[in-house]
């Protein structure tokens, strides 16, 4: 693998398996190897878990649904920005019905015990796809939030222009648009510059 600043899209998916039980960890690693070409790392103890997972910067984390360390992984994967990792969880067959409901619930994918290659691959695919979807949703949410912020700034800038130049709201907006076009800038950026200048001038 070459050393680059940016992740190589053709590189293997990096998977961290959090599993204290050695036999079970080996079984999972074997199943992953048969399923495809993955860069697999096993973390076998709770101590230092967060640090090791963070350092590994995996694309996917496999962790037992019943693991008490799950909250740590969630914090790394979901709660703290930036969102970087999808999470897939596996669970014993005894947890009847949980796999279905969990997959329906959206975020986590669950592999049921007896981790054969055929079963692991679709779950990894599903988890990765789900992760992509959630990332898109986040991006859309962020875009909406930014649009709201920008509208507030534009409204303030319009208000300033209306007051300073005695023009109507539509004319104020037209002024902003013309300035943006002539300076080859976005309207929100021109509005922001105006608001900042007005704040400085008091």
């Amino acid at each position: 693998m070459g050393v680059t600043d940016h992740p190589d899209p053709s590189r293997d998916l990096k998977v961290v398996v959090v599993e204290p039980d050695r036999d079970r960890a080996l079984m999972i690693v074997d199943a992953l190897r048969t399923a495809g070409s993955y860069d697999v790392m096993v973390v076998d103890q709770a101590s230092g878990l967060a640090r090791r997972v963070a350092e590994a910067a995996p694309d996917l984390v496999l962790v037992d649904l019943r693991s008490p360390s799950r909250d740590m992984i969630e914090d790394l994967a979901l709660a703290s920005a930036p969102l970087q990792r999808p999470v897939a969880l596996f669970v014993d067959e005894s947890e009847d019905g949980l796999a279905e409901t969990a997959i329906e619930a959206g975020l986590s994918a669950y592999v049921v015990a007896g981790l054969t290659a055929e079963r692991i691959k679709p779950v990894l695919d599903a988890a990765t796809a789900r992760f992509g979807m959630i990332q898109r949703m986040r991006a859309e949410l962020e875009a909406t939030r930014r649009a709201l912020e920008e509208r507030k700034v534009i409204d303030r800038a319009k208000g300033l222009l209306m007051k300073a130049r005695g023009v109507s709201e539509d004319e104020a907006y037209a002024l902003l648009r013309r300035a943006a076009m002539s300076q080859n800038k976005r309207i929100p950026d021109v509005a922001q510059a105006l608001v900042t200048a007005a704040d400085l001038l008091g």
Binding site: E74, S80, L141
Partner: protein, 387 residues
């Protein structure tokens, strides 16, 4: 024939009302057969609740609000039907950090905050909390923001560490301090891994710590079950509040079928008599279930939580507060309990932090005493007017 009802909880002392309601027959008296399920983590508990595998759950008070604000990337909507416990967290330091900071008077939030921030000027201080969306995290952020805030970015790093692993993480030097619910603070002290410097109540005297959460709409769809559950929990909390019952309560909670923890540790949390690692301390109201309308889910508590989250996550505060208010169902609590609770507050929202001592307030029958609910820095929180 009692109706079976599955409720999820974690192995924590503040799950006491659920265990007492089951084991002392309060649930049975309401026609319920409580099936309590101990979950291994908050994420597992949340998934269990949102997927409908349990009817209700003991939940961190911040979780329903965070979910309503779309934080944490987890779909599903839940709401708080009541507060299950008030306060109960402790803040502790590793032996190494404690040695560096020198002797601190137990319970002095100003002194401890200043000491921690000055240590953070030299090297980052890593503080463990049980979950990113928890009263533990909110108390820490509020406390250090009001004391500081630190000058250097990342001077304070809040990390998630499951409570049973907190002692080991502290001993291994992965964190320097923690904010955790009992008995895990006392557990750390007993193992010589750290010292306690502050009860959570020294930061906010009435912090809603855990709530009884259900999926949005469940209580309205199953009013008989919800009413029976809230009534059973009300009687359990009242029983827990009687000092003479404390020893029995500790023994009951200690059993393998309940929390499976040493009875003596549980009694420390219930009585507020703590061993701090540097001495002994008595904390009145370390953990409360009943007195001062502890169980009442104030809309303003939901708004406070939402406001804090909104500031940190850069969300619109008015929108967030409205969502926080909606997540704390004082209306349902009132509807289900008005003919059994001798006194309910007349209002559903209050100015948080305004009561510096026990204060008589307007109520249905005029005999209710609230508070204290003050913040360590004397600030008050007045929710934005509802739309």
């Amino acid at each position: 024939m009692n109706v079976p009802l599955r409720i999820a909880h974690l192995r924590l002392v503040d799950a006491a009302p659920l265990i007492v309601a089951r084991d002392l027959g309060f649930a049975e008296a309401e026609g319920l057969a409580l099936d309590l399920v101990a979950e291994p983590s908050w994420s597992a508990l949340r998934d269990t609740l949102t997927s409908g595998r349990v009817a209700a759950a003991q939940m961190l008070s911040v979780m329903p609000v965070a979910m309503a604000l779309g934080l944490g990337g987890v779909p599903g909507e839940v709401e708080a039907l009541q507060v299950l416990s008030v306060n109960g967290d402790v803040i502790g330091l590793s032996q190494a950090l404690s040695d560096r900071l020198g002797a601190l008077p137990f319970g002095d939030a100003h002194a401890a905050g200043a000491a921690l921030l000055s240590a953070a000027e030299r090297a980052p201080v890593r503080i463990g909390v049980p979950f990113p969306f928890s009263m533990h995290a909110e108390l820490l952020h509020y406390w250090l923001d009001q004391c500081g805030p630190p000058n250097r970015p990342n001077a304070i790093q809040v990390r998630t560490v499951p409570p049973p692993l907190m002692t080991d993480a502290l001993a291994a030097g992965e964190i320097d301090a923690f904010c955790v619910g009992e008995p895990w603070g006392s557990w750390t002290v007993d193992r010589g891994a750290g010292v306690l410097v502050l009860p959570g109540s020294a930061i906010w005297a009435q912090a809603p710590e855990k709530v009884l959460a259900a999926r949005v709409g469940w209580a309205e769809a199953e009013p008989d079950l919800a009413r029976a559950l809230l009534r059973a929990l009300h009687r359990a909390a009242r029983w827990l509040d009687v000092p003479a019952n404390m020893g029995l309560a500790a023994d009951m909670l200690a059993r393998p079928g309940a929390l499976d923890l040493p009875s003596e540790l549980i009694e420390r949390a219930l009585s507020g008599r703590l061993s701090t690692g540097t001495g002994h301390a008595v904390v009145p109201g370390l953990l409360r279930f009943h007195a001062g309308a502890a169980a009442f889910p104030w809309r303003s508590q939901g708004a406070w939580i939402a406001d804090r989250l909104a500031r940190r996550h850069d969300l619109d505060r008015g929108w967030a507060q409205a969502a926080g208010r909606r997540a704390f169902r004082s209306d349902l609590y009132r509807r289900f309990l008005q003919d059994v609770v001798s006194d309910l507050p007349g209002a559903s929202s209050k100015i948080e932090g305004a009561l510096s001592g026990p204060t008589p307030v307007a109520s249905h029958r005029g005999t209710l005493t609230l508070g204290p609910d003050s913040f360590f820095d004397g600030q008050v929180f007045e929710p934005l007017p509802s739309d």
